[in-house]
Symmetry: C2
Subunit: 180 residues, 2 copies
């Protein structure tokens, strides 16, 4: 699900495009216009959302840029197997800013940040990986993860196997990742 | 095969790292040190070569940056099927500078550039695709292609299925893409 109001969409896309430009990442006008503004149906895009430029998504691999405003969170989810094919595997590479990534493992004491306000049980894993600009981390298929941009926002390149967002399973039961 | 002399390697890596930095692309010290300097065994790296930062290469997908000095060429080759698995499929996205890519199809009249000096038959396809910064093109498996950086050099992000360089088949029969 994406942000609904047209003017708001334009403002968010402009802002994300400015962040890409500031990081030296060139996208075409068509890519900017097609930028997905995922709000996960929660209608709180600046807190829980992602602005996504999909460069390529075919039956073998996928590449995207994820633009995150300051403190923006991509909520906890996993990528299950689909039709007997192993779930999506993905590598996050921080291109600008910093990102706090949470993956399976023991909770990190004194972690950098908290999830956005959400019903109990919406966030369950708190093992922290800090990605500064130039750092990357690969998520195994079907394992839970969530991530939040630092105070200056972040741009994350996602390299992965085929992307099939509709199949994602979110811990927050309010979320259904249905494309518009 | 890679450039042999240690001091020359260092100079090339420094130069490639400067180009990455100028394009706003941050790589770690370890990634810079591990940068592959592919000269395809021709010992003419600045004419026929690639400086390669491999971000990730697993059994599902691969992501690299290809740094090309001005006028540098990646020679004509194709990615055959391996063990019954379709050959590598790859997307080239020009991140800085410009690239002249040649793919299957009718020869382009008045094309932008020529291949480097090579024995007859080393370059056979001349259908041109010009990639400016922000443009991209996807190469089908097992189809011939070669590409050359413009006069200011270029940086190309390569998103692909698993990379298995040793399997590549070059039109120039002098070339065997054997890793050191």
């Amino acid at each position: 699900m994406i942000v609904q109001a047209k003017q708001q969409q334009q403002e968010y896309r402009d802002r994300a495009a400015e962040m890409l430009a500031a990081a030296g990442i060139v996208v075409t006008g068509r890519e900017k216009a097609a930028m997905e503004l995922a709000d996960f149906g929660l209608d709180e895009f600046e807190a829980t959302g992602l602005a996504i430029v999909v460069y390529e998504n075919n039956d073998r691999y996928c590449a995207k840029e994820l633009v995150m405003f300051p403190g923006m969170t991509c909520p906890e989810h996993r990528h299950p197997a689909i039709n007997g094919r192993s779930g999506k595997m993905e590598t996050f590479r921080c291109r600008s800013g910093e990102v706090y990534l949470y993956v399976d493992g023991p909770a990190t004491p004194g972690r950098k940040t908290d999830p956005p306000a959400a019903p109990g049980g919406a966030y369950t894993i708190f093992h922290e990986v800090v990605l500064l600009t130039g750092d990357q981390y690969t998520i195994a298929p079907d394992t839970k993860h969530w991530f939040k941009a630092g105070p200056g926002g972040a741009i994350v390149s996602e390299f992965s196997s085929t992307s099939c967002d509709e199949a994602d399973i979110f811990t927050d039961t309010r979320i259904q990742r249905v494309p518009d």
